[in-house]
């Protein structure tokens, strides 16, 4: 009653109202203005780069995240708990600082002579940094809870290590990997701070959607910015819906009759 009312009011003021304003302004100039804004070549290029990079990063995370989760759960080595805590660093570190640290090590002043600044590799690098924890943290608890007896049963039935991983462990991890991928994707699509310094924000080259939108705002054209923002939102929701549907399909075996 009171609780619900307060919660709803707070949410409406902080979340819904600004978003409504965004959509309203995006549509404010009519369909033509909207279309012009989102089909601007620079905008399209930025959106495409964002999409491709986010998908690539999501896939890399699916593999590397599972590997890291594996060594944190199934292996034992000195310093393991520190490594486990470090995985959360991208959560805790401001994105601008993250970008700066990557630029320092892998940019023009690199002490190991690796310079990927102002390239698309930099985009990937920065996005991999900020999305690091997601798959790891969704897979870890599932790996912990995994019924070891299923693996023992498979062994007693003749399955070797790789077969056990492929037929027993992986299918049971897959839903968790998908959840992590969804989170990583949504994060990557909207990332700004980590990219600002290291990519150079070169239009048609290394400019991602969020940077393009920022550019439109700085140029005093918030309407175009809003239009492209709406497209970005739509892409995100579509992707999340798809991944969610896939996840439900893959866990139908959990439904009790």
């Amino acid at each position: 009653m009171l609780a619900q009312g307060l919660a709803t009011a707070y949410l409406s003021l902080i979340v819904l109202l600004p978003l409504a304003a965004l959509v309203w302004h995006a549509a404010g100039g009519g369909v033509d203005d909207f279309r012009a804004a989102v089909t601007d070549p620079q905008a399209v290029s930025a959106l495409r780069l964002t999409l491709v990079a986010s998908v690539a990063v999501a896939l890399i995370n699916a593999v590397m995240g599972t590997i890291v989760a594996w060594i944190l759960v199934r292996d034992r080595f000195p310093g393991q708990s520190i490594v486990n805590a470090l995985v959360d660093l991208p959560f805790a570190l401001p994105t601008i600082v993250a970008g700066l640290t990557l630029l320092t090590l892998y940019g023009p002043t690199s002490p190991v002579n690796v310079d990927v600044a102002f390239s698309r590799t930099a985009v990937l690098l920065a996005l991999l940094f900020v999305t690091l924890p997601f798959v790891i943290r969704t897979v870890q608890p599932v790996l912990l809870e995994l019924d070891r007896e299923m693996e023992e049963a498979a062994a007693s039935l003749g399955a070797g290590s790789f077969q056990i991983f492929r037929r027993i462990i992986l299918p049971n991890l897959f839903p968790a990997i998908l959840s992590g991928v969804a989170l990583a994707f949504a994060r990557a699509i909207g990332e700004f701070g980590a990219l600002v310094l290291i990519t150079g924000n070169l239009p048609f080259e290394t400019e991602v959607a969020s940077v393009y939108i920022f550019g439109r705002i700085e140029s005093g054209d918030p309407r175009s910015a809003a239009a492209v923002s709406v497209v970005l939102l739509l892409i995100t929701f579509l992707a999340l819906l798809l991944i969610g549907a896939l996840r439900r399909r893959v866990t139908r075996h959990d439904a009790v009759a």
Binding site: V83, L86, L100, L132, A226
Partner: protein
């Protein structure tokens, strides 16, 4: 799992983390102090830097308690009460996690800016502190809710019902039964919220106008110093933020809900 396989996995996993995380962060610490501790200290105690720190702390001091209270109230509403549109509330709460901070900043700019619906308030919202606070509240909204909801679900209503039969009223039940059960989840959520609030960059970048000495947060200060070629200044401020991040990591490890630990 053969030994070779185990070492290979360990090498790949730890190598990935080292290249991506440890090495870059370590280097920034080194660069910040490479001209000596004194230079770094001076860089971080300039009036602009100090002001930026104060701005950041004020924003966090408002956003975190607000989201904590909201988070607890909202979690209780979601778990314990039935009301139309509950699913929608769930989705809305998770929204800030999926939105680009730039889009968030833009939304507030459009709402409170010159042509916005709430443009004519008696005080400045955009290009001023209130706007930055609102944007920060937006982006750090979900954490307490998301941590408390599963715990509330798990503990169930029996203890609260028992308290009611023993004569306890609503607030007493909350204070003596509900809150003690959720306090670690709340603590963890507060840690995440604080980290997010301190580290916000994109949304604040849009909403604040980045007026040095007035509406610059510590994160904006890092960028400004870098763009001004004051690298020591940028690294020093980064180290400050990184130390706050490490403190956050420690707090996260301490308060982490048990299902995720070994």
């Amino acid at each position: 799992m053969t030994r070779l396989r185990r070492y290979a996995l360990r090498f790949i996993g730890l190598g990935y983390l080292g290249v991506l995380l440890a090495a870059p962060v370590g280097l920034v610490f080194q660069r910040a102090f490479q001209d000596g501790f004194g230079a770094a200290w001076d860089a971080v105690t300039t009036p602009a830097a100090k002001h930026a720190l104060v701005v950041t702390l004020i924003i966090a001091a408002i956003a975190v308690p607000a989201n904590t209270i909201f988070g607890i109230v909202c979690a209780i509403a979601i778990v314990r009460h039935r009301f139309p549109g509950k699913n929608v509330v769930n989705v809305i709460v998770d929204l800030p996690l999926a939105l680009s901070p730039i889009v968030v900043g833009l939304a507030f700019l459009l709402l409170f800016g010159t042509e916005g619906w709430l443009a004519d308030l008696p005080f400045d919202v955009v290009f001023a502190l209130p706007g930055m606070v609102l944007a920060t509240i937006f982006v750090s909204l979900p954490f307490v809710v998301r941590e408390v909801v599963p715990v509330l679900r798990e503990i169930g209503t029996e203890q609260e019902q028992a308290a009611a039969t023993l004569g306890a009223g609503g607030w007493q039940i909350f204070r003596r039964v509900t809150f003690p059960a959720i306090r670690w989840a709340v603590a963890y959520g507060v840690v995440l919220t604080t980290a997010r609030a301190l580290g916000e960059f994109g949304a604040i970048s849009v909403v604040s106008g980045r007026l040095i000495g007035k509406t610059e947060s510590l994160t904006l200060h890092v960028e400004e110093r870098y763009q001004s070629f004051d690298y020591v200044g940028a690294y020093a401020a980064s180290v400050l933020l990184a130390m706050l991040a490490i403190a956050t990591l420690v707090a996260m490890t301490v308060f982490r809900p048990k299902e995720e630990t070994r």
